[in-house]
């Protein structure tokens, strides 16, 4: 008969196998886009009366 596995402290190996380089690049791409557009609008605001 099959035995139910009751052991709870089974260690699963969590490996950082996936590289986050692409994620980092896209996050900063979005970040700089937000900052550049915000600064652009802010200077437009300062330039007008």
């Amino acid at each position: 008969m099959a035995k139910t596995e009751l052991r709870k402290n089974v260690k699963t190996e969590v490996e950082d196998r996936s590289s986050l380089k692409g994620t980092l690049a896209s996050v900063f791409l979005l970040g700089f886009f937000l900052i550049v557009s915000w600064v652009g609008v802010f200077f437009l605001f300062l330039d007008r009366f």
Binding site: L24, L34, W38
Partner: protein, 159 residues
């Protein structure tokens, strides 16, 4: 908790950006004293014409204030009073406006002057007219059948 190094980097970057934006907002509001155009100043909309300064719309020179002129505008369906105003180049002007009937807009096209005029409230905006030219004032809140005809004009002229 395990956190990837990159995740820490973009979290710090994101929170830092948020703090910079909030600081700019705080400095603008609490140090420079910027406030919304309609900021708790009220008026009885039925008695606009009899109350100062709205009994005399137009540009008036003032002394002893942080601004040189006061420009009073009364809006109603479907026009502004005054319909045309000349402002000397470089003058610092406080625009004071209200409406007699419904909600109107007060947008000076191509500038930062853009207010909503609500019945019962006085809207104000202080600015220095440091560029000459003709500026169109538009109603940008739909106010009725003649909404698209509701305009006025500011001319900034070399004195």
């Amino acid at each position: 908790m395990h956190m990837h190094k990159f995740e820490k980097v973009w979290l710090i970057f994101g929170v830092g950006t948020l703090l910079v934006f909030l600081t700019v907002l705080g400095v603008s509001a609490f140090y420079l004293g910027n406030q919304p155009p309609s900021c708790l100043a009220t008026i009885d909309p039925e008695k606009v014409e009899t109350q100062a300064p709205f009994n005399e719309p137009g540009l008036k020179k003032v002394e002893g204030k942080a601004w040189d002129y006061e420009l009073v505008f009364v809006a109603q369906a479907f026009n502004y009073n005054p319909g045309d105003v000349e402002i000397p180049f470089g003058a610092t002007v406080k625009i004071i406006a209200t409406t007699k009937d419904v909600i109107h807009g007060f947008e000076v096209a191509g500038t930062n002057i853009n207010m909503m005029l609500e019945p019962g409230y006085i809207s104000e905006h202080i600015t220095t007219f440091d560029k000459t030219g003709e500026y169109l004032i538009l109603c940008n809140e739909y106010c009725g059948a003649g909404h698209h005809l509701m305009t006025s004009k500011i001319e900034v002229v070399e004195s």
